[in-house]
């Protein structure tokens, strides 16, 4: 962590966000230690680890926790959280993560980054210990596959990756009246920043918004842009975006949802359901938190959808397909 350490006096000497935090941590170190709450974002967690290095406190004297789960032990001093939206904090987090990647390899840095997106209250401290271990043992972290600190971050990263995949699978876009697309998701980790590029590649010419009201994050994509702008939302804006999905649909949306519902109902094979299998595979693959937003599982999808959009062509008499294509 040479780079971060060398910047200590420079950062601490400035009255900025990080400098103030470093001074407070240094002053409170010793005794029962310092508890540093952090916002549950990659910037918030990684910059907090960096602040600990800049304050020259030992690993055991500093503990990180989520801002919304701050529970100090007796005698432990709580220091105010860094603002993860400030340029200075973002720069520090990039610097720490860059140094970590150079020290331990890109895969380890990627895992740390994934773990930061976890909703697990232990995640910030697990990342803190993982980063400390990596910096103390350059090039060795990858071989410590059975170390408890490595296993903890591996497990967090594995769970977040699973939730990233489920977000890719189960986000459902609705066509809005203004021609744009909106998907509301409710993952168990802050996955929107991690899937934004995937959807930008997939939806290239479309203007869309992917919103997660629970983590108050959203990805906005302009038509033909290569990537999304990922932003944090306040409660009011998150609510307004979610409401649009119910109130502002395009004329064809209900019909296409009905098509999807019809397709879903007809592709299943008889004799292979939960009764015949002994368990319901859907309960394994589709967690309950995702089911509420899936149109194929929503009975309203089967309600009369209105006329078909003209792009599908005219209706034909029944049986027109018998040997004579319509």
């Amino acid at each position: 962590m040479r780079e971060a350490s060398s910047g200590c006096s420079e950062v601490a000497g400035t009255p900025g966000e990080v400098g103030r935090a470093v001074t407070l941590i240094r002053g409170a170190a010793g005794g029962a230690g310092v508890l540093l709450p952090c916002r549950p974002s990659a910037e918030g967690v990684v910059a907090s680890v960096g602040a600990g290095y800049l304050a020259h406190v030992r690993e055991g004297d500093l503990e990180l926790c989520r801002l919304d789960r701050c529970q100090p032990r007796i005698g432990q001093v709580v220091v105010g959280a860094l603002d993860d939206a400030s340029d200075e904090v973002v720069a520090l987090s990039r610097r720490v993560l860059g140094a970590f990647a150079r020290t331990t390899g890109r895969e380890c840095a990627r895992r740390a980054l994934l773990a930061c997106a976890s909703d697990d209250p232990e995640a910030p401290e697990a990342v803190h210990r993982y980063l400390r271990l990596g910096f103390s043992l350059p090039r060795e972290l990858h071989a410590r596959a059975t170390d408890a600190r490595v296993l903890a971050v591996d497990e967090l990263a594995r769970r977040v990756l699973g939730e990233v995949e489920r977000t890719r699978q189960f986000a459902r876009f609705s066509h809005l009246a203004d021609g744009s697309w909106l998907a509301v998701v409710g993952p168990a980790a802050d996955t929107v920043p991690l899937v934004a590029r995937h959807f930008a590649r997939r939806m290239g010419p479309e203007r869309f918004c992917l919103v997660d009201p629970r983590h108050r994050s959203a990805a906005f994509h302009e038509a033909h842009a290569g990537d999304c702008a990922v932003v944090r939302l306040d409660e009011g804006l998150a609510r307004r975006l979610v409401e649009r999905e119910a109130e502002d649909l395009a004329a064809d949306e209900r019909y296409v949802r009905a098509l999807w519902g019809r397709f879903y109902d007809r592709v299943s094979l008889p004799g292979r359901g939960a009764h015949e299998r002994g368990y319901d595979l859907r309960s394994v693959h589709v967690p309950a938190r995702h089911r509420a937003r899936l149109p194929e599982l929503d009975p309203r999808t089967r309600e009369a959808p209105g006329p078909a959009p003209r792009r599908y062509g005219p209706a034909t008499p029944s049986g027109a397909g018998l040997g004579a294509p319509s």
């Binding site: 591996d154 296409v256 879903y264 299943s268 299998r277």
Partner: protein
């Protein structure tokens, strides 16, 4: 009849096609185009029967001039018929794709008059999809036996994956149940696809060579067999991943052979070809089916062979009686055996033999193999080569690579194995750590066999299937 009705009929008509994967292609976004294709694919929904929905799987038409005995769409069946207009189906695909319902289209069809006329209609749909609607996502197209080579080639330029259904495990069975199809009609497009891909591979390698591109050190040449990857024990080791999980697909850590040219840069069927065969409609055993699968993989470089357990729904003296379905576990075990052949370098003869031609329904094929070969176990975790670790029940490619990484730093214990997410319930009987067996594993081979078989039988799936199938298992 509107699109909603047609979709219902043509989705139901296509549901017996087992293949529904969107993997094997790698195509980034194109300017102005909609969509991309990723090597791992993506499942977007799970139906009540547990199958994943990744593609809009429909028939272009369920009107068919063929009269295959087992097919619900055969010409003599009295079902409602429908046919999509090419643009209608293309628009439907794009509408589903934009909503993130599917990764693309799986297009098959009943035979509308002739194979060529049907394929031309499918090509017309795919042209609208690719050219008018600028769809850049995944397309799987079914080749109808008897289609002209020019049309097969054209289809291959529009689709990511092609498939020709081999339908039944032997030529006599095909002749008996599908009077309009011949073995040659099925194998000819398979051979054409394989040679077309090999030619393109050779051309791409040549171009890369001219540009000074780096070639893989080992692998298959144009048209040759894929070279298996080797590990700790044999020959050049594959690069050890930092952590054997999480980054990309775990399949990359297996012993599967890899082509020297991936899907990028390919124009003709970049995701390769697959096939499907019906299990249990005719009397061929598992030995015959796995041997045939292996031959197809070797000869035509197939990506997958799909198995579909026959469900008797039609009264026909050539077929099993209605109400006597093939045990679903047979299909399940065939898939597991197929997986072992493709990714763990098992040979069909290690899993089934002419003397024991059926896979065990109660125990998975890897465990069954280990129980038949108990003299090869236990395996010492600290020095077993990667290939041998991969043969231990409960140890997969990720677990095996993690063990190899962990043992470089020091002794590995059973607690470490648990932390590394090895399935100790099965693996503990077949491993030693530093010369010691797990204290929960019996020493006696007979007791080990009894314990693992009892564990396997008590799984929810095995229990329920045993209840439903009763003692009267009918394998064909």
């Amino acid at each position: 009849m509107d699109t909603l009705d047609r979709l219902g009929i043509l989705a139901e008509a296509a549901r017996y096609d087992a293949a529904c994967t969107s993997s094997g292609s790698a195509r980034g976004p194109r300017a102005g185009g909609l969509g991309a294709a990723t090597p791992a694919g993506c499942c977007h929904a799970f139906t009540p029967d547990g199958r994943c929905v990744t593609l809009l799987k429909v028939l272009m038409s369920n009107a068919c001039t063929h009269d295959c005995a087992y097919c619900v769409n055969r010409s003599s069946a009295s079902c409602e018929r429908a046919t999509f207009a090419p643009r209608e189906l293309a628009e439907l695909t794009v509408d589903f794709y934009r909503r993130n319902y599917v990764e693309g289209l799986f297009l098959s069809s009943g035979v509308l008059g002739t194979a060529d006329a049907t394929t031309e209609r499918m090509i017309s749909c795919l042209r609208i999809l690719r050219e008018d609607l600028r769809f850049n996502g995944y397309v799987h197209a079914k080749v109808i036996p008897g289609t002209s080579p020019e049309l097969v080639y054209e289809l291959g330029l529009l689709a990511d994956r092609l498939s020709v259904n081999i339908e039944l495990p032997s030529a006599p069975s095909l002749e008996r149940l599908c009077p309009e199809k011949t073995r040659e009609q099925v194998l000819a497009p398979m051979a054409q696809i394989s040679s077309g891909r090999s030619r393109e591979e050779g051309r791409l390698l040549e171009e890369r060579g001219r540009r000074g591109g780096r070639l893989a050190p080992a692998g298959r040449g144009a048209g040759g067999a894929a070279a298996p990857r080797t590990g700790a024990a044999g020959g050049p080791a594959a690069p050890m991943p930092l952590f054997a999980a999480g980054r990309g697909s775990a399949l990359g850590l297996t012993l599967r052979g890899r082509s020297r040219v991936g899907p990028r840069g390919r124009a003709f069927a970049p995701a390769g070809q697959s096939t499907q065969l019906i299990v249990g409609a005719t009397p061929e055993d598992d030995n015959r089916i796995l041997t045939l699968s292996k031959a197809l993989y070797d000869r035509f470089h197939l990506k997958r062979v799909f198995f579909s357990a026959y469900m008797p729904m039609l009264d026909d003296e050539r077929l099993p009686e209605v109400g006597t379905p093939v045990p679903l576990r047979r299909e399940h075990r065939l898939y597991q055996a197929d997986w072992l052949m493709r990714y763990y370098a098992f040979e069909p003869g290690e899993l089934v033999t002419p003397e024991e031609p059926w896979l065990d329904l109660e125990v998975d094929p890897k465990l069954a193999w280990a129980l038949r070969n108990l003299d090869r176990f236990p395996v010492e975790v600290m020095d077993a080569p990667l290939e041998l670790l991969l043969r231990v029940p409960g140890v997969g490619p990720v677990g095996a690579r993690r063990i190899v990484a962990a043992r470089e730093r020091g002794p590995v214990t059973f607690d470490d194995l648990r932390a590394l997410r090895v399935t100790l319930r099965r693996a503990r009987h077949f491993l030693t750590c530093g010369g010691k067996r797990d204290d929960k594993s019996p020493l006696d081979a007979g007791l080990i066999r009894q314990r693992v078989v009892s564990d396997a039988r008590s799984s929810a799936y095995n229990r329920r299937r045993s209840e439903l199938e009763g003692g009267q298992l009918r394998l064909f």
